[in-house]
Structure formats: C-alpha cells, structure tokens
C-alpha cells in the first residue's frame, strides 16, 4: 500500500438513499454475512465516480481521517488507489462531495471493454460469488463476456453437463478438414 497523504481526502461512493443515515451515523462496515467487514475507500476521485455506476443514484462522500486511523490495502481490488478501514467511520469525518447530477459516468472510458466475439461483439461484466478457499467463504470475482447468441458460430452441444462435454477440441482446423465439435468451447 502506498504512503498515505493524510492531508488529502479519501472517497467512498454509495447510494443517495443511504446519505442521510451516513451523515447521521457515519460509515459502517459491511455487516452482510460472507462479505468483508470493512469500509471501502479510494484515493482517486475518478475511481469513486466510476464505481458510482453500481448505484442507481450515486453519491460520492469525502472522508478526512485522523493520522492515527488504521487503513489496509484492499485485498480484492489491489493496486495503490484503494484501501479499506475495518472500523466504522464516525460522521464527523464524512461529508458529501458530489451530488448525483455530477457523478455522470464517462462511457468513453469503457470502449475497450467491448470485445470482438467471432463476427460480432460482446462486452465484459463481473460475476461475484462466494467461494470457500479453505479458510471460510470469500468473494470470488471473475470477468465474463455477454454477447448475442447469434454471434456464436453455433449453439453448444447438449447436454452441456461438464466441461468435457462442453469443449470443442480443435475447433480450428486445416482448410478442408473436419472440425471436432464436442460442446461449447469455441475457438476461431
């Protein structure tokens, strides 16, 4: 984790419906079972604004913490721009930074998240699930591609029960050769 400049604020984005409660009670760590009991913060205002796309009515909060506050690296997002606090943050450290109307998302940034899928296109989404790594359930994130089914060369072969059945072996083959199609794994 990078050295923290305590003179600069941290940011957190949430839904506007939570704003009144947060300004009254502070930012509380997540209490949902299976999720880390932390508050997510970032040094980068743009990251907070982009993350606002998760909410129908995003609001960015500015947080100024005392120097003695303990912050940790975000184990999932990683990088130097995001940190977590494992303690509730009292309301006196929190104030509203940006109103909903100013957190308009820059769609231009995500053009590179649109991919070529065979003769068509697809785009990346994130699937979050809980997975037991041996020391309790943790969040697992994986990126998937959504596309139109007609962009795929053909439907996967039924019954698609296991990856062996959903695998195309050597789908790409020499010209004039015969492709071996055994399921839903595609390559061109």
């Amino acid at each position: 984790m990078r050295k923290i400049d305590w003179d600069k604020p941290l940011y957190h984005v949430t839904s506007a419906r939570n704003l009144k409660s947060i300004l009254r009670n502070g930012l509380r760590v997540c209490r949902d079972p299976g999720f880390d009991k932390v508050v997510y913060l970032t040094f980068d205002l743009q990251i907070a604004i982009d993350h606002g796309g998760n909410f129908p009515d995003p609001v960015v909060l500015e947080i100024r913490l005392p120097h003695s506050w303990s912050l940790y690296a975000d184990p999932y997002i990683g990088g130097d721009e995001c940190v977590v606090s494992d303690k509730d943050i009292p309301p006196k450290y929190v104030r509203e930074r940006l109103a909903k109307s100013t957190t308009q998302y820059s769609a231009k940034r995500q053009a590179d998240s649109v991919l070529t899928v065979d003769k068509g296109r697809g785009f990346i989404i994130e699937h979050r699930t809980l997975f037991d790594f041996g020391n309790g359930f943790k969040r697992l994130r994986r990126k998937l591609v959504v596309t139109a089914s007609h962009c795929l060369p053909h439907p996967p072969v039924m019954p698609c029960y296991s990856y062996q059945e959903t695998t195309y072996q050597k789908f790409a083959c020499p010209a004039g050769g015969r492709t071996q199609c055994m399921g839903g794994l595609f390559i061109l």
Binding site: A111, D112, T116, V146
Partner: protein, 154 residues
C-alpha cells in the same frame, strides 16, 4: 472466439449460458486445468478492462458503441410494457454492432444489440428503430444476476 475490437479472434472461451430465444449468451474462462494456456490468454485479454455495471432500462437517452469502436452514439431508448413483460426498442442499429452493449446515460449496460430493422426507399436501405433488444436485468440467468457487479452491497 474473443479478441480486442478490430482484431481477429484468437482467445478461447467457455459457453456458460445460451438462450436463443432472447438472443443472449455468456462466455467465460476455459477450464484452467484442461486448457492452461487458453485460460491464461483469456485472463490476459480481460486484464485491465473494466466490467460494465448492469441496470434496468428506462425510456430516455442511451448510447451504443459505433462501428469505429471508439465513439458512443446517442440512441433513444423506449421501454414498453407488454403482456409478455417489458420490452426495449432503440434507434437504428447497424450490421456489425450485434452484441454491443446499450448503455444508459450513466454508462450502465441495460441491454445489448440483437436486432436491426430497415426499410427500402428508392432502392436504398434505410435503418429504422429496432427492437425488441434483450434487457439484461430480465434476460440474464438468475445465478448471475443475484451475484454480479451492480447488485451491490453497501
């Protein structure tokens, strides 16, 4: 199967969901035990690319990625409620845009380009409003919608 826009497909993908009725499919990483190199290539392709958030569509302005792969063109979104549920139509779509996300004003994906429509006028084809486009919030499988980014915990 997959590649950055404008490049020839070279990356393998595993089909996780296929719905020919709503014209929607989901691709994921190949099995990393059986297809180690292909799985690594998939991970490299995804690396650094920001996933789209998902939202329900509303009637108003939306955006579609143009064929140049750079510009986001505004398009009118119209949500209809029919006896079969909600339906979405957009402005004209072009051949080659299939599978592109349709995003709302805040950049969240609400649907994808599935269908186009055009009419003939003096021998030329004129694109017209197209729909129904598959609405992600309604047509993605429940196992994905329940846990994906966008259904966020505070």
């Amino acid at each position: 199967m997959l590649a950055p826009l404008g490049e020839e497909p070279s990356v393998w993908a595993d089909c996780l969901f296929f719905d020919p009725v709503s014209d929607l499919a989901i691709l994921g990483e190949p099995d990393n035990q059986e297809f180690g190199e292909e799985s690594d290539a998939y991970a490299r392709l995804m690396d650094g690319r920001k996933p789209f958030n998902i939202a329900a569509p509303k009637t108003g302005e939306g955006y579609m990625l143009a064929l140049d792969g750079v510009a986001w063109r505004p398009t009118p979104l119209k949500v209809y409620v029919t006896i079969r549920g909600s339906s979405l139509s957009t402005g004209a779509t072009l051949a080659g845009q299939s599978g592109s996300p349709i995003v709302d004003a805040t950049g969240r994906a609400v649907a994808l380009v599935s269908i186009g429509a055009e009419y003939l006028s003096n021998g030329s084809r004129i694109p017209m409003d197209a729909g129904p486009q598959p609405i992600l919030k309604f047509q993605l499988p429940a196992w994905l919608l329940k846990t994906m980014k966008g259904c966020h915990h505070d």
